[in-house]
């Protein structure tokens, strides 16, 4: 893929994003916002999974934290949505710091198990702290407020869509910059061969912790967008099943490609949506498709597409 081609594709995508709300029916636009939010979630996971080689079973916890942070701020104070987004993002990042610090003391599968343990812990707290989080009922009635003080209301579907799309695009650009930077290259070196990294005299742990926090913050941003969009935050947003689905989204789209996971999230959700309207047993087909992708298309959608486009003709 030549740089020119990539740029052309990116521009086309941006144009599509800008124009789609005027073309799509109302409910299709709602679905698209959903896809973008989870696309952001998957993108954040790719930073640690695809670029640093860290498998996290607990990434959903940060999505959930972002949702709760945003929901609480909006319900109790009613500020413009971006303030709530900031609150959710910061909350997720703040909790991720100690979790990351502890978890990175272990490696590989043990790291993964630790992230699961911490996520379950957070889930249990959210579930039981009824006064703050509403417990198993969650927090409902989260409003969509305005873009900034005295600014336009975000209750209009298109307005909210643009906010979400803007966040996703900015996040993509930021992540691209991050992985291209020396920091990003260090991450990839850690993924390729951590022992080598250590033998060159560098400590991987600070890198891992920092990227873990960044990924959690971005995951939190996705959750913070979710709360006003769907109007609620609940413990399910932190449950390990969502973490597993996140991993599936990344693999489906293409691990280590940034834009792949975004597409992977879209494919993953759309396939489930469509299948579940046809049959109650959509889980069988989802599982089957996924197993096939894992075996035959390890590069995911984007990885396979790239190979196909670059194949000698």
């Amino acid at each position: 893929m030549t740089p020119a081609r990539t740029r052309a594709l990116a521009l086309a995508a941006l144009a599509a994003l800008a124009l789609l709300p005027w073309v799509l029916a109302r409910h299709q636009l709602s679905i698209l916002v959903d896809l973008l939010i989870f696309g952001l979630f998957a993108l954040s996971l790719d930073l640690i999974l695809g670029y640093t080689g860290m498998v996290s079973f607990g990434h959903a916890a940060y999505f959930g934290l972002g949702a709760y942070g945003s929901a609480l701020v909006l319900i109790h104070f009613g500020p413009p949505v971006p303030v709530a987004l900031l609150a959710g993002t910061l909350l997720a990042g703040a909790v991720a710091a100690p979790v990351g610090w502890f978890s990175t003391r272990a490696r590989d599968i043990y790291f993964a198990m630790l992230t699961l343990a911490f996520a379950q812990l957070l889930y249990t707290v959210a579930y039981k702290w009824r006064d703050l989080t509403g417990g198993s009922d969650g927090i409902t009635g989260v409003p969509k407020t305005t873009l900034f003080w005295g600014g336009p209301s975000l209750a209009e579907p298109r307005a909210f869509y643009y906010l979400v799309a803007a966040c996703v695009v900015l996040a993509l650009v930021a992540c691209r910059a991050l992985v291209g930077s020396p920091f990003g290259r260090a991450l990839q070196a850690i993924r390729e061969n951590e022992h080598r990294f250590v033998s060159l005299g560098r400590d991987p742990r600070p890198f891992k912790i920092v990227v873990f926090v960044i990924a959690a913050a971005l995951g939190g941003l996705a959750g913070a967008l979710f709360a006003p969009f769907r109007g609620f935050a609940s413990p399910e947003g932190m449950f390990w099943v969502l973490s597993g689905q996140g991993l599936m989204m990344v693999i489906t789209g293409g691990i280590g490609t940034l834009v792949g996971p975004v597409i992977g999230a879209m494919v993953f959700i759309l396939v489930q949506e469509i299948l579940s309207s046809y049959t109650e047993h959509w889980m069988i087909f989802t599982g089957l498709i996924f197993v096939l992708i894992v075996i035959f298309l390890p590069g995911g959608v984007v990885g396979t597409a790239r190979r196909w486009l670059e194949a000698p003709r």
Binding site: L114, F118, T124, G244, I251, I284
Partner: protein, 286 residues
């Protein structure tokens, strides 16, 4: 006094059940280096097949003997047709594959059996209760304790004292070397996976009279199994036994005295082990 005896037996019975479920998970990780997310679903499959076997034959003991191998075969077939092709890939792929298999299996069970839970009665011999040191205790739970110990000893003996067990342990330590020395690594892997699923299935058959066969029993048991395996040590049978006892005791006594915080404490213990001694109490240091 009767109360203390009762609680101890409760802990042992729960430990027995946990052991049956987690032993297989531990083996699959130790020997195949795969985290099998579908493990809970094989447990569930065992429970449902056990229900069918008892319904058809009226014999609980028969189902205890027949169902686990069937579950094992299902597992082996799945491994041979899917997992086998992706061992060389990064572990995330194998993990997610088992996730996908879990989805398929769980929903298939629902298609076959419907959403209602299926009750299974224990065999007449084990119904009712016996007097143990003043406590009136259900006989079936005592059976679980005995079964757990028997299976544990049996698997340990197999791995440590038989030639097949030696080959399996060799593959676990260094699969390439074992391959060079003539072991059929692929076949060993399939057999181990199948055996682990059979163990999970046995757990399911044994659990059904106590918990009924119900959808979602796989999900509810898998997290417990992970905790046991982490504490005991991935890959160690003795570790699974120890882990089961610890978690069983914690859940039993914890439920009685601190029901709300029992799980929190267990997660904390799990976390501490992962940080300070990740290979668990009895695992091998890597």
């Amino acid at each position: 006094m009767a109360f203390v005896v009762e609680q101890m037996l409760n802990a042992l019975a729960l430990a027995g059940l946990l052991f049956l479920v987690s032993a297989g998970l531990s083996l699959v990780f130790g020997i195949l280096r795969v985290v099998n997310f579908a493990h809970g679903v094989f447990y569930m499959l065992g429970a449902y097949l056990g229900f069918t076997a008892v319904k058809l034959s009226g014999q609980f003991w028969l189902s205890l003997i027949v169902v686990p191998p069937v579950v094992g075969v299902v597992g082996a077939l799945l491994e041979a047709s899917t997992l086998r092709f992706i061992y060389r890939r990064p572990p995330i792929y194998q993990l997610l594959l088992t996730f996908g298999l879990a989805l398929i299996l769980e929903e298939s069970i629902r298609v076959l059996y419907g959403p209602t839970a299926m009750g299974v009665d224990p065999p007449v011999f084990l119904q009712g209760a016996v007097d143990v040191l003043g406590a009136v205790y259900p006989s079936y739970r005592l059976f679980l304790v005995v079964l757990g110990i028997a299976v544990g000893v049996g698997v340990w003996l197999f791995l440590q004292r038989t030639r097949a067990g030696l080959v399996i342990r060799a593959v676990a330590q260094n699969s390439e070397m074992a391959d060079c020395l003539g072991a059929d690594v692929a076949r060993v892997r399939t057999l181990v996976f199948g055996a682990a699923c059979a163990l999970a299935g046995l757990g399911g058959v044994a659990a059904a009279p106590m918990t009924t066969a119900y959808l979602g029993m796989g999900i509810s048991v898998i997290v417990d199994a992970f905790v046991v395996v982490v504490i005991g040590g991935l890959g160690s049978i003795v570790g699974s036994m120890a882990g089961s006892l610890i978690v069983g005791a914690a859940q039993t006594w914890g439920a009685f005295y601190l029901s709300e915080t029992a799980m929190v404490i267990i997660y904390a213990v799990m976390g501490a082990i992962l940080i300070f001694r990740p290979w668990g109490l009895f695992g091998e240091e890597e």
